[in-house]
């Protein structure tokens, strides 16, 4: 079954200030923020940086529950990060469990790295949470445009991304149906060791590929029928246009990122 939880960063379609923000600005600002997290060394600053999450939640009208549900699968990784640092950082042991010796320094380091991981994932998931796939494709295309001179097929990449996004749910449904049809014919996907399991996927993967190729062929014909002949002459319905409000965001975002880095520098 397709799970009940939203996938990590699955678009949450509401109208909010963050949703309306120009996707190019949003992409740049969030990337800048996430990269700057890697330059921060003080735990205090990292904890302070955490305060952008409620701000983002407020400006995106995203329910905390939705964010939490989409992040839940990461709990294991966090636990793992925490454990590694807790036990492997040298220092004064807090307790002794045989060979396992959690240290005070480890606790701090573990908290720091876990927090950074949480921040990186949470904040960057706001890109896809508040930007429709189409707007995201448009933003990527716009931002990559300068590379066109270097021979990067920017338009084709953007169209490919759109089509991929369009067909992923369709192919997932198809995969599910084929799995059931083969299970009904006694296929076993749940037992056996690696080799048997991998071989067990053949009855699913081959029909899935055959189906995907058939769809691709149909789609190419349909695109041609609608006059598609490469990206050169194409115009676009959506063109990204900056609003005055977008600059306000840019200003605020720059302030947060530089402020964070300056404070961290001052404390060290």
């Amino acid at each position: 079954m397709i799970g009940s939880s939203p996938a990590l960063g699955q678009y949450f379609p509401v109208d909010s200030a963050l949703h309306r923000l120009d996707p190019r600005f949003k992409l740049i600002m969030i990337l800048a923020f996430v990269i700057s997290l890697f330059f921060i060394e003080r735990v205090v600053v990292m904890v302070g940086a955490l305060s952008v999450v409620p701000l983002l939640l407020f400006f995106s009208k995203l329910p905390l529950r939705w964010l939490w549900r989409s992040l839940r699968p990461l709990v294991f990784i966090l636990f793992f990060t925490m454990a590694i640092h807790l036990f492997l950082t040298p220092g004064e042991p807090l307790l002794v469990f045989g060979p396992l010796q959690p240290t005070g320094a480890g606790l701090v380091r573990g908290a720091f790295f876990s927090l950074r991981l949480v921040m990186v994932i949470t904040v960057s998931s706001f890109i896809t949470l508040t930007t429709s796939p189409v707007a995201l494709t448009d933003a990527l295309e716009a931002l990559l445009k300068p590379t066109k001179r270097l021979g990067v097929p920017v338009h084709e990449l953007a169209l490919m991304t759109t089509i991929a996004l369009r067909f992923i749910p369709t192919l997932l449904d198809e995969a599910q149906e084929i799995i059931r049809a083969q299970k009904a014919r006694g296929a076993d996907f749940e037992s056996g060791f690696v080799v048997k399991r991998v071989r067990g996927l053949v009855p699913v993967l081959i029909p899935l590929f055959v189906g995907a190729f058939r769809r691709a062929d149909d789609l190419a014909t349909a695109m041609e029928a609608r006059g598609y002949a490469g990206g050169e002459r194409r115009s676009r319905l959506h063109q990204l246009k900056l609003n005055p409000g977008d600059y306000l965001w840019l200003f605020g975002g720059t302030l947060v990122v530089t402020g964070m880095l300056v404070v961290d520098l001052m404390l060290s």
Partner: protein, 277 residues
């Protein structure tokens, strides 16, 4: 202003340099504003014919003319695609974008139109298929019937003078089928688009001006629906059946009841029985 096939045939190349004929030499005229139904079983060459009508496939022999221009590889093929819109059987495999209006905009974008014009065409096409409220939806969340209407809107946004529909209802549930048929009927009435409707559902050909029956890549009959659809021998030869009301009328006619063997619809049979009983 019409589509004309003059002895046009199509051979598919197969492995080993040989080729298989999908459509034998065909003569055909589709007049503006007319409604032609093309009937045939699977593998009768229907889809090949559809693709030749809008410059997706080019005649191996013979000629295809649209609006007085000869269509051939690299020669007026974009003109053909602009003039003749094509809607395929499977709505899933012809939508490009994951937002309805972006998909409808795909054709006009390919024509390089400016933004205001694209906007106008998108709105108008979605209006014509009755989906203006779903413009911002993800097609994956729509029903198959709605998706097929999006595909139809995508073809209409090219503002073609002809529409070729290749079994547009065969994968839909009854509700989706009714909706598509209703939208098409309205289009014929209001916008005088010429239509070539390809199907194996004989009942859907009843309202056509002309019916063309294909069998093994050959046109075996052309004529008004009342003449062709009631011809049991012809239908059988094409692996088809007459519409059910006609089968009933024929049985009643043989039994000496007042029902002509040329009746095609339930209403015709009912009124013919009731007016004389």
């Amino acid at each position: 202003m019409s589509i004309e096939l003059k002895g046009a045939s199509f051979d598919y190349p197969v492995a080993g340099g040989a080729s298989v004929s999908a459509l034998a030499a065909t003569d055909l005229v589709v007049r503006p504003g007319s409604f032609m139904a093309v009937l045939g079983a699977n593998g009768s060459g229907k889809s090949t014919l559809a693709k030749m009508l809008n410059g997706l496939l080019f005649a191996t022999n013979g000629e295809v003319w649209i609006d007085g221009r000869r269509i051939d590889r690299g020669h007026n093929d974009l003109f053909a695609r602009r003039t003749v819109g094509l809607v395929f059987q499977n709505p899933d495999n012809q939508l490009v974008a994951n937002v309805v209006e972006d998909d409808v905009a795909f054709g006009p974008e390919n024509l390089g139109l400016d933004r205001a014009e694209i906007r106008r065409r998108v709105d108008r096409s979605l209006e014509a298929v009755g989906l203006p409220d779903l413009a911002r939806q993800d097609p994956h969340r729509l029903s198959a019937g709605q998706r097929q209407r999006v595909a139809l809107a995508g073809a209409l946004a090219m503002e073609p003078r002809f529409l070729v529909l290749d079994e547009p209802t065969s994968l839909l549930d009854p509700e989706g089928r009714r909706d598509i048929l209703a939208v098409l009927a309205e289009l014929r009435e209001r916008q005088s688009v010429g239509m070539v409707y390809i199907t194996h559902i004989v009942e859907e050909a009843v309202a056509a001006d002309t019916v063309l029956v294909l069998d093994k890549g050959r046109i075996i009959a052309t004529g008004p629906p009342r003449e062709l659809l009631t011809d049991a021998t012809l239908m059988d030869r094409a692996s088809l059946y007459s519409p059910k009301p006609n089968v009933l009328a024929r049985r009643l006619c043989v039994a000496g009841l007042p029902a002509s063997d040329e009746l095609l619809t339930v209403e015709e049979v009912v009124s013919s029985l009731c007016s004389s009983s």
